[in-house]
């Protein structure tokens, strides 16, 4: 078993297993699970602990020719990547929602626009019932 004080991980099981203890005040569960996802093809991963305090990440090598230590630093880098991604996602959430809602709003035909279009298309100069005519025009004897 070996410990690294800087990055806090423990290697055991004939250098096949590595265990990280991560403070969830820094790395939330979604950040940890997203970071772990990137290593699923290389290592077996099991999570444990309490999401309110600390998460224990256990990694076991799939290919015994590789070195588990190589994954330790990369995992911390990936945690940082995911932390940044989640941070950006949070800070952009309002503008993202605005863009999507605007796009959806424009895609749906607007009722007011349709009514305006109908009115514009109507020929207001037509007078099929003759209501725009004056009494004189209607009763002009000379035209009869």
């Amino acid at each position: 078993m070996s410990n690294n004080e800087d990055f806090k991980y423990t290697i055991s099981g004939n250098e096949q297993i590595i265990e990280f203890v991560l403070n969830t005040k820094i790395y939330s569960l979604p950040v940890i699970s997203q970071a772990a996802y990137f290593f699923l093809d290389k290592v077996y991963i099991l999570l444990d602990g309490d999401p309110k305090k600390e998460i224990i990440v256990k990694m076991k090598l799939k290919n015994k020719q590789e070195k588990i230590i190589d994954f330790a630093d990369n995992f911390y880098n990936e945690l940082l990547n995911q932390l940044l991604r989640v941070g950006i996602s949070k800070s952009n959430s309002k503008i993202r929602e605005y863009i999507v809602s605007k796009a959806l709003y424009n895609a749906v035909p607007n009722e007011v626009d349709e009514l305006l279009k109908e009115v514009e298309e109507e020929d207001w100069q037509e007078d099929p019932l003759g209501i725009a005519q004056t009494w004189d025009e209607k009763n002009d004897e000379s035209k009869k």
Binding site: L40, L46, P51
Partner: protein, 72 residues
């Protein structure tokens, strides 16, 4: 026909893993073993029985990876 034997157990922390994801994984692995899911106090215990001999060495770890994959 593949030989089947042995038993493996995996304990998933209920605060981290969801029962639905474990059930979904069990569906995908049903041809490789007989799977029993027992929710306990803080853990969900998954018992793998009658494991297909071909995957006996890795099924436990692959199962855990699959659940994590569904979560992410």
């Amino acid at each position: 026909m593949n030989q089947r034997n042995n038993m493996e157990k995996i304990k998933f922390n209920q605060k981290i893993y969801s029962l639905d994801m474990i059930k979904e994984t069990a569906k995908q692995f049903k041809d490789l073993a007989e799977i029993k899911i027992n929710p306990q106090n803080n853990y969900i215990e998954v018992q793998l029985d009658e494991i297909d001999q071909k995957v006996r060495e890795i099924i436990k770890d692959e199962f855990a990876n699959y659940v994590l994959g569904l979560m992410s």
